[in-house]
């Protein structure tokens, strides 16, 4: 596989990944409260890092096709493991932070209705 063809595959993947990661970083400043910030950053950085992992996967598969070195199979597998670990842990961690933030009394700003707070005020274990 020629280097130019590899460039045509790698450049869009890495560009999408870097763009979404930067959008996630900017979202921390452009949103008013914790929940909307979390919505912006978690989704954008997870998606962007997934695409960066795809870029590393494509690079190692391309090197494998070019050289036939078994080291690049290991690299591709480990990048896949990293992507799966990131997908699982980011979603769960964001949910835990949101739950803890609401329970510690940090409410959503500029929100018209907060059904979870209403339910908990009524005494239900929400």
């Amino acid at each position: 596989m020629s280097a130019f063809l590899m460039f045509l595959i790698l450049a869009p993947l890495l560009a999408v990944g870097v763009a979404f990661n930067i959008l996630g970083a900017v979202a921390l400043y452009r949103f008013p409260d914790v929940y909307t910030r979390m919505h912006g950053t978690t989704k954008c950085t997870t998606f962007g890092t997934l695409f960066i992992a795809f870029g590393a996967l494509a690079w190692s598969l391309g090197r494998l096709a070019a050289t036939g070195d078994g080291r690049f199979i290991t690299m591709a597998l480990h990048v896949g493991v990293a992507a799966v670990a990131l997908l699982v842990t980011n979603a769960t961690g964001a949910h835990a932070i949101a739950r803890a933030a609401h329970r510690s009394g940090v409410g959503p700003r500029q929100a018209v209705v907060d059904r979870l707070a209403e339910d908990r005020r009524k005494g239900g274990e929400a």
């Binding site: 970083a25 921390l28 914790v34 690299m75 739950r99």
Partner: protein
């Protein structure tokens, strides 16, 4: 060859991580800081994967996996502490 793409991406993501540092230091509430820390951890994992390609070392990807797991444990620990009291 195409490695410069990965090194430049890592540099740009480093700038983004420094950008996140502002919210980590000056966040109004503690959950804001936790969200910023989580974002920085994800960015660090991305930078580690990129640098693994740049330096052509598989070990750095393993470090990224362990870092992701440890940051998850940290996030859960801080969340449990924020909720207060015993676990349910």
């Amino acid at each position: 060859m195409n490695v410069f793409l990965f090194s430049w991406s890592a540099g740009i993501l480093g700038v983004a991580a420094v950008l996140v540092l502002g919210r980590l230091v000056g966040g109004p509430t503690i959950p804001d800081r936790v969200v910023a820390l989580d974002t920085m951890n994800t960015l660090a994992v991305a930078i580690m994967i990129l640098l693994a390609v740049v330096y052509d070392s598989v070990v750095m990807v393993d470090v990224a996996v362990v870092y992701a797991a440890l940051s998850f444990v940290t996030t859960l620990f801080i969340a449990r502490h924020l909720e207060g009291g015993t676990g349910r």
